[in-house]
Point group: C2
Chain length 677, copies 2
Amino acid sequence: MAASKSIIPSTVNPDLQKERDAASFNSEEFAAWWAGGAETLKFKRGIKEYMYKEFDKDAFIHLQYMSHEQVSEFAIKNSIAVAKKLRQLQAERNPGGDDYWPTLFEAPELWGVHLAGNPFGVMYVMVVRALKSQCTPQQWEEFGKRVERFEVCATYAQTELGHGTYLRGLETRADYDRATDEFVLNTPKISSYKFWPGGLGHASNYCVVMAQLYIDNQYKGPHMFFVQVREEGSHEPRPGVHIGDIGRKLGFVGVNNGFLGLKNVRIARTRMLMKHAQVHSDGTYVKSPADVLTYFAMVSTRCIIARNCALSLAIASTISTRYSAVRRQSPINPKEPEPQIIDHVTQQLKLFPEIAAGVAFRLASDYLWDLFNVTSSGIEQGKYENLPELHSLSCALKVLCSSDATAGVERLRLACGGHGYLASTNLANIYVNITAACTYEGENTVLLLQIGRYLMKSWRAALGGATLAPTVKYLADVQQNPEFGEWTGNWENLVKAMQFAAAKKTQLAFNSLANRVANGVSEEAAANQTGIELTQAAELHGRAFLFHSFLNEITGPKSKKRSSALNRVLEQLLELYLVNETLKNLSSILRFINLTDSDLSKLQSRLETALSKIRPDAVAIVDGFDFSDRQLNSTIGSFDGNAYERIFDATLKSPMNQKSVPKSFHEHLGPFMKSNM
Amino acid sequence: MAASKSIIPSTVNPDLQKERDAASFNSEEFAAWWAGGAETLKFKRGIKEYMYKEFDKDAFIHLQYMSHEQVSEFAIKNSIAVAKKLRQLQAERNPGGDDYWPTLFEAPELWGVHLAGNPFGVMYVMVVRALKSQCTPQQWEEFGKRVERFEVCATYAQTELGHGTYLRGLETRADYDRATDEFVLNTPKISSYKFWPGGLGHASNYCVVMAQLYIDNQYKGPHMFFVQVREEGSHEPRPGVHIGDIGRKLGFVGVNNGFLGLKNVRIARTRMLMKHAQVHSDGTYVKSPADVLTYFAMVSTRCIIARNCALSLAIASTISTRYSAVRRQSPINPKEPEPQIIDHVTQQLKLFPEIAAGVAFRLASDYLWDLFNVTSSGIEQGKYENLPELHSLSCALKVLCSSDATAGVERLRLACGGHGYLASTNLANIYVNITAACTYEGENTVLLLQIGRYLMKSWRAALGGATLAPTVKYLADVQQNPEFGEWTGNWENLVKAMQFAAAKKTQLAFNSLANRVANGVSEEAAANQTGIELTQAAELHGRAFLFHSFLNEITGPKSKKRSSALNRVLEQLLELYLVNETLKNLSSILRFINLTDSDLSKLQSRLETALSKIRPDAVAIVDGFDFSDRQLNSTIGSFDGNAYERIFDATLKSPMNQKSVPKSFHEHLGPFMKSNM
């Protein structure tokens, strides 16, 4: 470790310092805006400083060298340490509140300590919430609170080996046994095993199990049951419970995803979560009233996913942008020294659109959150009519943020050349985690098809003269004005173009569907056959929303609170985002809108101009995201820009470098070479 | 392990069997065609059978749970075992030949035994070849042969921590010391350390080092030196040599990528590879004659990369297609049972274009190989004029096959939902390996810019009336006929459209470049500023080549050797590939070619028709790729289709499942839960 002190300079790389000195705006102002205010920024920085100093700064490097078992053990130990520390902070600063514990347990500020993922993440992100909304008051007192207090540890088990998205297809069943006032739970086949829940492997002793309820062999639909799976004292699996780790995955290595088989496991009747539906002791089944509120809760979950994807993308942008400012490679002019790679225009095209996208996604999730709050107050007055709109919009946001950010992170990793492939840069790790968001909480294609169905309904309603919800109102506008009108290429016009393309694709899908039905295909088969056009329309609908919310947040009334220097930078990011996405979706736009060759050349030239305008501010912008080195966990992304020294320092920590000759030489390689002489 | 026998049925999953029974063609005929003939197919199958039975069938699963050190040791032990086995086979079947050893050492047939990558891959793919082409006869006798015989172990060290692509930027230097008749090698800074060479970490005792040659402090350019880095007996690093493992990466975990620092390391003058350039003992420097042949060798390397990407994509297609035939999920009609997911049209769009792309890439690399052979005979007669064309084409093929196959593998992984994220499916592993091909042997963007420059030269030459090489001749055609002519949408017309778009993009880039220079920008800066358009033109040029070669191989004279049933299937793959790629590149096409709304609707409907026509043959097609279960190494892709049972079987092998309660419970989780009561 003595080596590490000498290798890494204590000064900032001059190439990076030069960038900071030349920025056109104050990155502190950006940081305060991005954090949601100067006070919040200060709070977040305070938390990071307090928390990170307690944890080994080299842990991320060491983690790369561990076995699956070591990582699993490390993650539990580490997350318990985080929980303890946060509770201590809560007790010190605001006893009885929850602003530190558990609020911060899964917060992005602490991602850098949950290095292998948090095995208790599902417990605090999902289970406690599910119990709060699904338990009767007695149930909450009896076991809900115990989970919240971390007296027991629980996860949420829905997905099975053979079933995911489609709830009614789940095979786990709970039969009510009137004689003993119990449910008998079974996973009858291998495909019925619960599979994937985070923390289920070896960290949980309880589990909220989604199972098909049967009373007297009569099917009552899927319900939630609170099931003890391990003994509280010994942690041994309970009788009839087959439980364990599902094994290695692409990422989330330490979160303890598990499997669960149940064989005649009996639980008290009162362990079905009965706030909405009930089973009485005589076997009477009381149906839940409308599930509209459960549905509504998912909107906020999808907002959080979108926001987390935005932040992951911003982290990756920070790493790649800083590295691109200190890496020098491939002369632009062979007579001059090699430039910072950030000066290559093709490199700028890899970096800056991702910075802009990160901002766009963050603002869209903020915007949706506001819409959510407005709708919430409506709901309290019994107004449910905007719910389908909001549900569909949150799906679109989740799909686009996860898929675009995943692709963006990978582009940013590749933009760092070979070194982007090194674990110590963290880019690979960010990728393997963010790509999972394309699949969890609603597989992206399945969600796109749901949005597509919503668009079909809206289109049909508008044809019938109905008034549409605000964010799909443009569909009705296009029905009334089927020509695009003048192409000006200004921002409002680009938003309108994306909406126009979305509406026209919706119309194409609608007509294809109608034609198929008219030709005798069943509604269901026709929907499947039109699946490609439905997902295309849904994607454009989401893009139009991203365009709209980004424009609104940057040029709307909030801009008055920012300095003109900061607004100029944000407007450049907006310009880049709108122009670049328009170019990327040009085939859809050109199909419905006539652009002249000169319009198209202008777009290309605006793209190149936007890149060159962002160039001098790029480092200051990512500085403004305000990620600490511990959050970045990257040898090439640190604030000081000493990339090569940090890579080399991390390299020396490989266990393979702790001895000069490996065992395999003596046992295999040495004897083999000798035998060939 | 007793469990594994009982869990996995010995029968084929009926859903998969049904697919095979209903296929319209014989997958054995496909397999023979794909392998390059019935005899070759038989040979390959024989090799696989012989080799795989010697190696543990569960090794891939166990590997997922190992630490970095364990994987590194495993890879060396395992690859030595493969080498021994192949040499034994060589001795048995064809003593003195090389058809088994070392030809097969890195062959795709054996990928499934090099489970963590082959630490000696670089030695046989690059070093032996480099030595053969760069050594004098004496040098070859003295040390080249020793490497070929595996008496010593060598790798090829060019990339440095601070430099990759740009050879003249390398910092490692070799100074000739006339007094001792030696070179003195140094890596003066941290950024000069050699970094990344496969097998360098702990497996090699020699190294071909690329260094800047200086004689009397006069720069002579980069040259290759054969440097001993470890003692032959003890394997200890030699004096002045700092050598080790670069640490964990996204993939290629076991290939022992290493770093190398040299401090006044002296080697005899005769250890510079002197076939082309020489340094005499008096310090006289003799320059190499034209390097045209070194350059030429890279064409074949890029063909191999393209071919390997095609095969990786075909492996991933096999896994995902079989899984999609046995997975049932999400009803198309809620009143019917859940369908095989391969019946969802959106799923077909994820699978079938990748099958088609795998075939397209394989055929393009075959086609280029033929072109290569024709050019080779020309070169022997001193005709070098087609070399720039071939170089550029091989770059384009490398770029597109690596980037498209990488994206394709990821789409196929995501098409398997959550389970695609499991290590035991192998999809994640295929991804992390194939994505590296976007960076190694010429970073893709750098190559695209080189191709762009070649297109600029060709465009200028054609303007001057010169005759262009065959594969860029279409540029001159478009100059002469600047209108596209009739859109018919047939295959030849689609090829022509892609060429037309490539030519027009080339023209746009050419004009942008000229305008910038006319406005006083230097040639070099203008090339950088036009980088985006240059890479776009280059990409379209590559796509046009892929279109052309696919069409040629399927409808050309070779089709006469195939049954009409097989030709029908191949034609459907061609149709899908051409139509889908045309739609994906529609923005470039619509910019230059007028398509009516009806033309566009027809393309969409052809896409949907192509998917539905391939649907009944999809499983039989991937069967025709003839990958054995051991090559696939996938729980969800095996020939028998018992996906869930195999996943579960692999899951049970996690070391975390070998005891019921983990250590961390007693040390951390248990006490923490108790403290909260």
